[in-house]
């Protein structure tokens, strides 16, 4: 894989164990967390992680799918996107 950084966003109703579930998955598959920030707006949980997939043991598309499934189980929306789209849009 050439480009390794991805952004994971989690949006949904706040509940116990959201970060734990996502992080457990990342740790299990060798995905390193570079940055993490989180806010709660009107009971809505809003989190962003920048992760490095260099040593990930599964392809990007599978990673996206599995994160989305984990999200569905907890009742939040989990998205995983390559980082360049944000870099390109917000940095000259």
């Amino acid at each position: 894989m050439e480009k390794q950084k991805a952004v994971i966003t989690v949006v949904g109703k706040d509940t116990v164990g959201i970060i734990a579930a996502i992080c457990a998955f990342l740790a299990e598959h060798g995905i390193n967390i570079l940055d993490i920030s989180q806010t709660i707006v009107q009971d809505y949980f809003n989190m962003m992680m920048i992760v490095d997939l260099e040593r990930a043991d599964l392809p990007f598309a599978r990673c996206q799918e599995e994160l989305s499934v984990i999200g569905q189980k907890i009742g939040v929306d989990v998205k995983c996107q390559r980082e360049e789209i944000f870099e390109k849009m917000h940095r000259i």
Binding site: V7, T9, I85, K88, H90
Partner: protein, 454 residues
């Protein structure tokens, strides 16, 4: 490093404001397919298209998934077919075989459209050009994916009025042949002045002869994003208004640039240009008319519309050119009536007329686009409208185009329904007075004096 607010802003644009990449268009040269045998030519054309673009749809979908940005269309444009078939096509029917081959290739690849069933006749029609033009009604009624365009004028050459007259007739005939579906064939036919060689948008895309063998062009969109950004600065002065449009256009174009580079890299096809156009869709909130309203007009078409559109178009270009080094195609605001909910409402309210739309085309990209007119409109009147629009392009050194749909069997007060991205269109009245004696004159309108720059 990117922060949570920036990430949220980008995702909100996609999820709530209809930001998308409208098209990845692979331009393919067919000049090396020419042959003296029609069957062999057809075979070579098919092989070339499906081999060059075999991964286009798959790669488009991969990019969509990787970045979570919708890529609405994957398209192909080819060398103007009048040139490809020139050495062997001896009748309109011969050209029809090439259109069917294009259609078959598009179906095999799973692309949304294939453009380039085109002729470039700005200074005169050769016999083969005329064969192609005369085959257009049959082609558009018997193929599904093929789009057609004819360039009938340019600032350097003037306007070929023989071609303008013929196109009026061909538009009518296309309408007749597709009258069961509200004359939808005409939605895939554009008449141009100063047509660009690298336009990724349909129905006017073709792969110009000045282009390399294969190339990737990308057209972005995003009227909804611009409107939302302007809502945030409602009531501000012109400087703030312009700054906001520029910044938004920059962000939107950067996404297009990323998608273009990725598509080019993954397909091993060189990147050509980004087309900056603000392309509306019938979806609520994805409207160029909506931006004009946000700028301060009650409806598109109200006094002030031309000025507001000029401002919008210019700021989109200024923001966009900073975001990509290779900008081309049409690059401006599109004002198709049927594809823009705000334009439809403006027509229904009586605010927007054909004449006002003509004025608007002087200051934005393209021209009279996706406008339904009464089925009884004569070929001569259609040619007269085309001639007017071509004159605007010729004199102002810009691209103009006409995509009119005379809806057979329908009149003012009724509506044509095209479905999907093509939308629906209230039938607009056409000036009832004649121009037959003007259109029946033979020959061409000479190039304007400001074209002599050598």
């Amino acid at each position: 490093m990117i922060n949570i607010w920036e990430v949220n802003e980008t995702n909100k644009m996609v999820e709530q404001e209809n930001l998308d990449v409208r098209t990845i268009t692979a331009g393919i040269s067919l000049l090396d397919c020419t042959d003296s045998d029609l069957d062999r030519l057809n075979e070579k054309v098919y092989e070339k298209i499906v081999s060059v673009a075999r991964d286009l749809v798959r790669v488009g979908e991969e990019i969509e998934r990787d970045y979570c940005i919708p890529i609405v269309n994957k398209r192909i444009s080819v060398t103007p077919i009048s040139l490809v078939g020139a050495s062997v096509c001896r009748s309109p029917e011969d050209y029809v075989t090439l259109a069917k081959t294009m259609d078959r290739a598009a179906r095999t690849l799973g692309v949304n459209f294939i453009g380039g069933y085109s002729a470039l006749v700005s200074k005169g029609m050769a016999g083969f050009d005329e064969y192609l033009i005369r085959s257009i009604p049959q082609v558009l009624s018997e193929t599904e994916y093929v789009c057609s365009s004819v360039n009938v004028g340019s600032t350097r050459t003037g306007i070929d009025m023989d071609a303008v007259r013929l196109m009026g007739e061909m538009i009518r005939e296309t309408a007749e042949r597709t009258k069961e579906r509200d004359s939808i064939g005409c939605a895939k036919l554009v008449v141009f002045c100063n047509a660009p060689d690298d336009n990724p948008f349909m129905a006017g895309a073709f792969h110009g002869v000045t282009e390399t063998d294969a190339v990737i062009h990308v057209g972005v969109s995003g009227p909804g994003v611009v409107k939302k950004a302007l809502e945030e600065v409602r009531g501000s002065d012109f400087e703030t208004l312009c700054e906001t449009i520029k910044k938004t256009a920059f962000k939107v174009t950067r996404v297009g640039q990323l998608v273009a580079q990725e598509a080019s890299r993954r397909l091993h096809i060189p990147f050509g240009i980004i087309d900056l156009s603000l392309a509306p869709t019938p979806a609520v909130g994805d409207s160029v008319a909506g931006i004009l309203e946000e700028i301060g007009l009650e409806y598109a078409g109200a006094p002030g519309t031309t000025a507001a559109l000029a401002l919008l178009n210019d700021q989109v270009k200024k923001g966009g050119v900073m975001a990509s080094s290779y900008v081309g195609g049409l690059s401006g605001a599109f004002i198709p009536v049927s594809e823009d909910q705000g334009m439809i409402e403006a027509v229904q309210a009586g605010a927007l007329t054909l004449e006002k739309l003509e004025a608007m085309t002087c200051v934005c990209s393209v021209g009279l686009d996706m406008i339904a007119v009464p089925g009884a409109t004569t070929a001569e009147s259609l040619s007269g409208i085309i001639a007017d629009e071509m004159a605007i392009g010729m004199i102002n050194q810009k691209t103009t185009a006409v995509r009119l749909i005379p809806v057979i069997g329908k009149d003012v007060g009724e509506e044509a329904e095209f479905g999907g991205l093509l939308g629906r269109a209230p039938i607009m009245p056409v000036n009832p007075y004649g121009c037959g004696d003007f259109i029946r004159r033979k020959g061409r309108i000479p190039a304007p004096v400001h074209s002599f720059k050598n």
